[in-house]
């Protein structure tokens, strides 16, 4: 254990936050698993507990492994990974899973382990690193819009194109994150506006096509529209989830009902993932919710400090690019639970039992830790020859 701790590098605070959140996650996940077991008739509670433990254990292994990788490798890695991700996305879409007649192909099965894998989460991560890399590489140049279309926006557009049919909200969130990091990375305002314009235009086109040929392309357009419409309409199906979430929150009070005593977990679909925040509030009250928000804010601050302390522009943008989405996902998840935001399938990072989304978060955390670790041994690292640099340069 001591040796393991010795080998741990990077920001100890981030390590601590992640560990605490991971440990705390067992409480609501174990409690909410009764919903899966007794309502959905899926496994046993012990099974879900061990599954969560296994995912987290793997997650920590991933963090450890990733943070040992010098962050510069991620730059080139993202270029290599992007085509692979696109292939995976196409494969995912091609499965043609449907929910209520609409395309809902978001998952692929990982062979051997048998765990569902949401490819869009990996795509988001790779895309963010790719954008950070682009921005860092062009930090000295004046960006020409036409040039950036090919180098930046085309890969982004292609990636998002294959996520969109099955998952609008994730597409929108990834796109927003890309815009956000572009804004932070100094991409010109006017070009950003154009890109948003093009994006909206493309979306409209997609929606209209889908509407015109409803049978030709099974899609989720109707679902999106209804979700957005239903955000204001309390009686709709989504209203059911929101109402249950509100009941959960209201019955939590300040101290909460106590661990495992949630009632609404039995009625809230996705109570162990998408709506886990409502369960946390029901069981642990405002105190629990405050604690959770505190940890996310703390994590945000550590990410910002890491960004500040980073030795290069790429490092800064990398930390921001992979770090901010974690916080945003947390925000959106909570906002959905408290009905500030339409219902979207975002998990609560490090708390939800979200299968592989945990691992993606762990990769992101690993990358941030890698950056913070790197800072401490800058001198030695700089002198090292980067074996990937050759590849890096040729592709770039």
């Amino acid at each position: 254990m001591k040796r393991l701790l010795k080998n741990i590098e990077g920001d100890r605070a981030i390590w601590a936050i992640v560990t605490i959140l991971a440990i705390l996650s067992f409480l609501p996940v174990y409690s909410a698993s009764t919903n899966l077991v007794y309502v959905a008739n899926n496994g046993t509670t012990t099974y879900h507990l061990f599954k969560h433990a296994f995912l987290l254990f793997c997650g920590f292994f991933i963090i450890y492994a990733v943070h040992k990788v010098p962050f510069r490798y991620f730059s080139g890695g993202s270029v290599l990974a992007l085509p692979l991700v696109i292939v995976l996305l196409i494969y995912t879409l091609s499965q043609g899973t449907t929910i209520g007649g609409a395309n809902a192909s978001r998952w692929i099965q990982i062979p051997v382990i048998g765990i569902g894998f949401q490819t869009s989460t990996l795509a988001a991560l790779v895309l963010m690193v790719y954008v950070a890399r682009y921005l860092a590489r062009n930090k000295e140049k004046v960006i020409i819009f036409k040039e950036s279309i090919f180098q930046l926006w085309l890969p982004v557009a292609v990636t998002l194109m294959f996520i969109l049919p099955a998952n609008f909200s994730t597409t929108a969130i990834i796109f927003s994150m890309v815009l956000l990091i572009c804004f932070i990375g100094g991409y010109p305002w006017k070009y950003l506006a154009s890109v948003v314009g093009i994006g909206v235009f493309a979306l409209t086109l997609f929606v209209l096509t889908a509407k015109a040929f409803p049978n030709a392309m099974p899609n989720r357009v109707d679902t999106w529209i209804s979700r957005i419409e239903n955000f204001s309409d309390k009686n709709a199906q989504e209203g059911y989830q929101v109402e249950k979430a509100k009941i959960a929150i209201a019955s939590g009070g300040i101290k909460g009902r106590g661990p495992g005593k949630s009632v609404q977990k039995n009625f809230l679909p996705q109570s162990s993932s998408d709506f886990i925040f409502a369960i946390v509030v029901e069981e642990f009250g405002l105190i629990g919710a405050g604690t959770l928000i505190f940890f996310y804010l703390f994590l945000l601050i550590r990410i910002l400090i890491a960004a500040k302390k980073a030795t290069s522009i790429f490092a800064t943008l990398l930390v921001i690019g992979v770090g901010l989405p974690i916080i945003f996902r947390a925000m959106i998840n909570m906002a959905v639970a408290v009905n500030l935001f339409p219902v979207t399938g975002q998990t609560l990072p490090l708390i939800s039992s979200g299968g592989t989304s945990i691992w993606m978060t762990c990769i992101a955390i690993g990358i941030i830790l890698s950056v913070t670790a790197n800072k401490e041994k800058t001198d030695r690292e700089i002198n090292d020859e980067n074996p990937l640099n050759v590849l890096h340069e040729t592709i770039g």
Partner: protein, 663 residues
């Protein structure tokens, strides 16, 4: 463009601000949901997820005085079968076995059952009817039948349980035991509903999924309190006799309906009550509680009341002579007749009651009280005859004894009342009065319930209720008791007379539905009754038998129609009740016999190891002792032992022979 870390961080601070504001918004919304909308959602939560379940309390049972069950709740099952859930192979393999068992239990041939099951299977019936009203023991057996023994999911066994009220005595005393359901609430079940019912418990349950509820706490929020048991005064044996005896008479006389009540004299406890009415099909069943509800003209039975009042007033005595003439007497423009052709001539008042002379009573009362009818009516009222008994059982009929001025009062009212017309009493009210005569003047209220119990613990005991501690003087009681005894001995009830046990009572043969006299003459209808008590001295029980509209071609006199039921009951109680049946030991006692017996007792009690001294012992005692010791006995002569071949103290050898000489 030149991107520096500084402007990155500046923009980052902008994002940070946005995030913090967003988190604050989330926190604000949390607080909003909890405190502003909180009550509504918390209410919704309870409404949607908390349910109160009723835990039904067990209903109490009704027992007879000796502890036999009269009414109790028990489970009944309706058996059905889901043939879709049964696997095809399993069905094929076992359908014959199941059919056979079903045929054994419910009748019909096995092949019929098999056809039924197969048809159900091919029709994909999920709710095939098998049987209803199945008791628990049979239900347990059926559960073990082939296929059914696989259970609900694989065997398609469906059993729907209901709780039903069962009367183990079936229809006997049904109206008095009563029931408490859609048919109303007659009898004891209805009257003591609040005790029997119990209080349902409450259990809070929380919804955990659609259609699934779990109890919230370990204990029930409110434990159910089971209903109390009612111990009635009914004696099953007497009830049985009363029921069947009445039934036999009703059937024999093809009467419309009738009732019988047996009451314990000292306490007023109703030992038996039977009410039988004729159904359209001509069968008799507990139709209505006639004894309690039906007030009618008592006829001659009321002469006893009239006699008591007359004796109490001092205006007449038992020896007062009255001329009944030739059995037809005109009074106030109306003829009164006696049942005996030619009349009774001049008879005493006591004899008038014995032979039940209408003329005598009409004359005695009218002539003595005609000027001041109140002097006759008021004492009747004082004896509580115009009051309801106040029974707990629903629907007691109101008595009616008109006073002067009442709308049914007329000149003829007084003489009519004297022999039991122009007034109304229920059988139970009449019996209560006779019971008071038997009880030396103390009028006690008829009671149906002895006590209320809960798990064999007393909850409430019902003591006897005295309506009137003394209805008249002891002298009068004594005189009336004597006359009632004579009614059976030599009066209208003499056909009932029995040497072995004594009874006292009064017959009653009242006309009924005589409103249209012409009609009545064409089709005479009577109410025949017998009211009395037994034994005549120190009465234990009083009893009334009323039979309405017997077929007059078979007979209609109270003594013939109702009397036998009375006698049956008296006889049965006399022969089975030890208290009444104390026979005096007429065998003379001799000292020497006792002495011998004592010696024998002593010897047979101790374990003998050697031959005892038998001299002086009676032969039967000696032989008994010796044979019990395992010896063969040879006897000569008879009387007492004078010689024994094996002398006292000799060793006992089993199987050896002993010779005794008797003189």
């Amino acid at each position: 463009m030149a991107v520096t870390k500084k402007n990155i961080l500046n923009r980052l601070n902008f994002v940070l601000l946005f995030i913090v504001v967003f988190f604050i918004a989330i926190a604000a919304q949390l607080v909003n949901i909890q405190f502003v909308e909180g009550d509504r959602y918390r209410g919704l939560s309870e409404q949607l997820t908390i349910r109160t379940d009723t835990i039904h309390a067990n209903k109490g049972s009704v027992f007879s005085a000796d502890g036999s069950l009269l009414a109790t709740s028990m489970s009944q099952y309706e058996i059905r079968m889901d043939l879709v859930t049964v696997n095809g192979d399993v069905f094929e393999k076992n359908v014959k076995g199941l059919s056979k068992e079903l045929s054994k239990m419910f009748g019909n041939s096995a092949s019929k059952w098999e056809t039924k099951l197969r048809r159900g299977k091919s029709k994909k019936s999920r709710y095939l009817f098998i049987a209803r009203n199945v008791g628990y023991t049979d239900y347990v057996k059926i559960k073990k039948f082939p296929i059914f023994n696989l259970g609900v999911y694989k065997g398609g066994f469906i059993a729907e349980q209901t709780t039903v009220r069962a009367h183990p005595l079936d229809k006997v005393a049904e109206r008095t035991i009563g029931y408490d359901d859609y048919r109303g609430a007659p009898g004891i079940e209805g009257a003591y509903r609040s005790y029997l019912t119990g209080v349902n418990g409450v259990r809070l349950k929380q919804k955990i999924a659609k259609g699934q509820w779990k109890p919230i706490n370990d204990n029930n929020e409110k434990e159910p309190v089971n209903g109390k048991d009612i111990v009635t005064t009914i004696d099953v044996n007497i009830q049985d006799i009363a029921h069947h005896s009445l039934l036999r008479q009703l059937e024999f006389y093809k009467a419309e309906h009738g009732c019988v009540v047996v009451m314990e004299t000292k306490t007023g406890e109703v030992k038996a009550i039977s009410n039988l009415g004729r159904s359209k099909a001509g069968k008799y069943y507990e139709k209505r509680n006639y004894a309690v509800y039906e007030s009618h003209e008592p006829g001659s039975a009321f002469k006893v009341m009239a006699m008591v009042v007359a004796l109490e007033s001092g205006k007449i005595d038992t020896s007062t002579v009255v001329d009944t003439g030739t059995g037809r007497y005109r009074m106030h423009g109306r003829y009164i007749s006696d049942s005996k052709r030619g009349g009774y001539g001049e008879i005493s008042a006591a004899r008038a009651l014995e032979v039940s002379s209408n003329i005598a009573f009409a004359r005695l009362i009218d002539e003595n009280f005609g000027e001041k009818p109140e002097e006759f009516i008021n004492p009747l009222l004082k004896m509580n005859l115009n009051n309801k008994l106040g029974l707990p059982i629903k629907g007691e009929g109101a008595p009616l004894i008109p006073s002067p001025g009442h709308e049914i009062w007329s000149k003829n009212a007084l003489p009519s009342i004297a022999y039991g017309y122009n007034l109304k009493l229920t059988p139970l009210q009449t019996l209560t009065f006779y019971n008071a005569i038997a009880n030396n003047g103390e009028m006690v209220k008829p009671s149906f319930v002895k006590e209320i119990r809960s798990y064999d613990k007393h909850v409430q005991k019902f003591d006897k209720v005295v309506i009137n501690p003394k209805i008249c003087s002891e002298k009068t009681i004594g005189k009336v008791q004597e006359i009632l005894k004579n009614v059976v001995f030599r009066g209208t009830g003499r056909s009932l007379y029995e040497e072995n046990f004594s009874m006292a009572g009064k017959t009653g043969t009242a006309r009924t539905e005589y409103g249209n006299y012409q009609e009545w003459v064409k089709n005479k209808k009577y109410i025949s009754s017998f009211t009395g008590y037994f034994p005549a001295e120190n009465p234990k029980y009083s009893c009334i038998v009323v039979i309405h509209k017997p077929d007059k071609t078979v007979g209609y006199y109270g003594a013939d129609v109702s009397g036998p039921v009375f006698k049956d009951i008296a006889q049965k109680i006399y022969t089975s009740n030890h208290e009444i049946n104390l026979a005096e030991n007429k065998v003379p006692e001799f000292e020497s016999v006792d002495k011998n017996f004592n010696k024998y007792n002593k010897l047979s009690d101790i374990e003998l190891k050697s031959i005892p001294n038998l001299k002086g012992m009676a032969a039967m005692d000696a032989i008994s002792i010796l044979e019990n010791l395992g010896l063969k006995v040879q006897v000569e002569g008879n009387g007492k032992v004078v010689e024994q071949s094996l002398s006292e103290g000799e060793k006992l050898v089993k199987g050896s022979t002993i010779f005794i000489k008797l003189v």
